[in-house]
């Protein structure tokens, strides 16, 4: 991908403009420093440093930003204490000014990959479905069912109506019947007309009671993305819709860069960000533990030799942590001695990349490992039936979330869900139907919750939802909405029979100082009370009710 020329050109112009002003700004800063005995000049010095720190890297001068930031911190310290600069501080600043000058002479190239092309409608909004179906009761039923999963459905009785309506920009998918009174293949024919007349490129799912090759062929020729035979199973349809509408975009890969050389780390970060990878930088290796928990990297890119501790030592520490036994650790190093490389690898690293490295090589080497790690992790962490997190992974996340909430003094809620009378479903309809009920609930939770929420299946019919930054009142409202929606979903049994089923839910809000187990226990107690009180309801843990938090 290359930038549209006007963006690249404009960015170049802005960079040139900034470059032209840089010498004057640096001179101004140096002037303020020379007069620093006059305390009045210190705020001015801080302001100039702050401005350079916040702008340098944006215009291609990462080293300038880093040095300016350090300078700002020093002046900040003196100003906060209300004292002049010490001799030592003045020396440091003098050196930093030299670093600023060097930084100002070494711009780096702008990142070459632009942001995703602007889209007039965010993916997350494209949940509108056109349903073309002459059977009004089937159409209404589908509209209601899809509504529970967060889709909006607009019904057309005939293909002609669809042809005469301007296409809504929010349209995500067309669901088209094959047979209409106007013709046995009227559905696919209308789609062909639409694609010619209105350049319709929206995916189409055909459905019909017909299961013969002629009908399927007509659907395929009209570019159908899927073909479903009536009666339609909502779970299957939702699965197809999810495949087609990527409004649950994959999480970006996360790389933690550990390098005491700030400018270099920033440079690597920009390179990786240009390929859509999110990054976090650790310049002080002693702070790595907090970064690991907060950022949850998919890969650690590490400098080999740093002050305070070496890369190998740090790798050994990372490997002591259960959650990071598998995370790939890649060294970026000038080390060329094979023996030393092998020793370093024995301590837990996976690979060596030699500095200096071309940006494309860095991206390619890192991407391969990231992909493999994600696949590996999904095999270990996912429940194979529902694709949700499994028991162990859910518990891990709960522990991490509790630690984060404690550290950052944030709030979260844990909801424990359990399907009501699930054994009856299995006994009455068989395990295959039971499985599809589990899948439908998983799908509903995934679709209706935020991407930051954590959803796991921790036992047969037991589910858990972790809602970060959510209080008991909000969680109650949300889960109650989901409970109601799920109770209205038509579960499909064999021979076209449908039935409905419900779940009960207990919610506990994290209280400062509580452990992950405490929170889980409270949610379970609340769930127990919901079951006792007659099922199909949401109950808050005792503490949360007493606190009158809603």
């Amino acid at each position: 991908m290359t930038n549209p020329p006007n963006i690249a050109e404009q960015l170049c112009l802005l960079r040139e403009n900034y470059a032209q002003q840089l010498p004057a700004k640096l001179a101004q800063l140096e002037g303020a420093f020379r007069r620093h005995d006059n305390v009045v000049e210190l705020p001015q010095l801080r302001h100039l440093a702050h401005s350079l720190a916040g702008s340098g890297a944006t215009f291609g001068y990462p080293a300038l930003s880093i040095a300016a930031r350090q300078l700002e911190t020093i002046v900040d310290g003196a100003l906060n204490d209300g004292r002049p600069l010490s001799l030592e501080e003045s020396d440091s600043i003098a050196r930093l000014i030299e670093a600023l000058d060097r930084g100002a002479r070494t711009p780096i190239a702008p990142s070459s990959v632009p942001a995703l092309p602007p889209s007039t409608v965010p993916e997350a909004e494209r949940k509108l479905i056109y349903l073309v179906e002459d059977d009004a009761s089937l159409a209404t039923d589908l509209m209601l069912q899809l509504g529970h999963f967060g889709y909006t459905v607009k019904i057309f009785e005939t293909p002609k109506q669809l042809l005469e309506t301007p296409v809504d920009p929010l349209l995500a998918v067309v669901l088209m019947d094959i047979v209409f009174p106007q013709g046995d293949l009227a559905g696919p024919e209308a789609i062909i007309q639409l694609s010619i007349a209105k350049q319709l490129r929206t995916p189409v799912i055909f459905f019909s009671f017909r299961n013969d090759l002629t009908a399927r062929l007509a659907a395929a020729r009209a570019g159908g993305a899927a073909y479903l035979v009536k009666p339609i199973d909502v779970g299957t349809l939702i699965g197809r819709l999810d495949d087609l509408i990527s409004d649950l975009p994959p999480e970006p890969y996360r790389v933690l860069i550990v390098d005491d050389n700030g400018p270099l780390a920033t440079h690597h970060a920009f390179t990786l960000q240009s390929a859509g990878i999110s990054t976090d930088i650790v310049t002080d290796p002693m702070t790595i533990l907090a970064h690991l928990d907060d950022f949850k990297p998919d890969l650690v890119l590490m400098d080999m030799y740093m002050p305070k501790c070496t890369g190998s030592e740090l790798a050994a520490v990372i490997r002591q942590l259960d959650n990071y036994v598998l995370v790939p650790i890649v060294y970026l190093s000038t080390e060329s001695d094979t023996d030393r490389r092998l020793i370093a690898m024995q301590l837990g690293a996976d690979d060596f990349l030699t500095k200096p490295i071309m940006p494309e090589h860095l991206i390619s080497a890192v991407s391969t490992r990231l992909r493999r790690y994600r696949v590996l992790r999904s095999h270990i962490e996912q429940d194979s039936l529902t694709g949700l997190l499994n028991h162990a992974a859910t518990k891990d996340r709960l522990t991490t979330e509790t630690a984060r909430a404690t550290r950052q003094q944030r709030v979260f809620c844990l909801a424990a869900l359990d399907l009501d009378n699930f054994k009856n479903v299995n006994d009455t309809y068989g395990h295959l139907i039971g499985d599809s009920v589990l899948k439908n609930l998983a799908e509903l939770l995934k679709r209706r919750l935020r991407r930051t929420d954590i959803v796991g299946r921790i036992g047969g019919e037991e589910f858990v939802v972790i809602l970060p930054d959510t209080n008991a009142k909000q969680a109650f409202g949300l889960l109650n909405e989901l409970r109601e929606a799920f109770s209205l979903v038509h579960q499909r049994a064999s021979r076209g029979l449908t039935f409905t089923t419900t779940f009960s839910c207990g919610i506990a809000q994290y209280q400062l100082g509580a452990s992950a187990n405490d929170v889980h226990l409270h949610a379970d107690e609340a769930l127990y009370r919901a079951k006792q009180a007659g099922r199909n309801q949401v109950t808050l843990a005792d503490d949360d009710e007493r606190q009158d938090s809603y």
């Binding site: 930038n3 006007n6 963006i7 404009q10 960015l11 802005l14 403009n17 900034y18 002003q21 302001h47 702050h50 401005s51 720190a53 916040g54 702008s55 340098g56 890297a57 944006t58 215009f59 990462p62 930003s65 930031r69 700002e72 702008p110 990142s111 990959v113 632009p114 942001a115 995703l116 602007p118 889209s119 007039t120 409608v121 965010p122 997350a124 909004e125 967060g150 920009f270 960000q273 240009s274 907090a290 907060d294 950052q408 003094q409 209706r448 935020r450 991407r451 930051t452």
Partner: protein, 130 residues
């Protein structure tokens, strides 16, 4: 759940250079409608007529700084709920936590990459608002 899309952004920033590059990053690259103000006071004047979906606020500005601008904005009835994001070169965990307490929805680190700023902004919107 209805989802509102992010279209109108107000960016409060005293540095003309950064304003210019933000215009490129958010208008040209990101496709947003952008209004820039060079002070907290100017922002207070502009918000009523511009009616932003989101406000990006530089933390360190002469005169009214980011936090005091935020408090002043919050007193306007129309801006009680508008997401406000701080832009800052100080991104230590403790400071981020403090900014959050002061009512910032999120914090974007400066210096930013002009090519990815709009994605960052959109991610924050999707994460917190939609």
């Amino acid at each position: 759940m209805t989802v509102k899309s992010l279209q109108r952004i107000l960016y409060v920033e005293d540095e003309p250079d950064i304003q210019a590059v933000a215009r490129l990053a958010l208008e040209t690259v990101g496709g947003f409608t952008l209004c820039t103000c060079d002070s907290g006071k100017a922002a207070l004047d502009a918000v009523q007529s511009f009616n932003p979906d989101m406000i990006l606020l530089d933390v360190m500005m002469p005169g009214m700084d980011g936090p005091s601008t935020l408090s002043a904005l919050r007193e306007l009835p129309a801006l009680k709920e508008t997401p406000i994001v701080f832009m800052t070169a100080k991104v230590q965990a403790a400071e981020i936590a403090r900014y959050r307490q002061q009512g910032a929805l999120d914090v974007i680190a400066k210096p930013f990459d002009p090519m990815t700023l709009s994605n960052t902004v959109r991610d924050i919107w999707n994460k917190h608002v939609s």
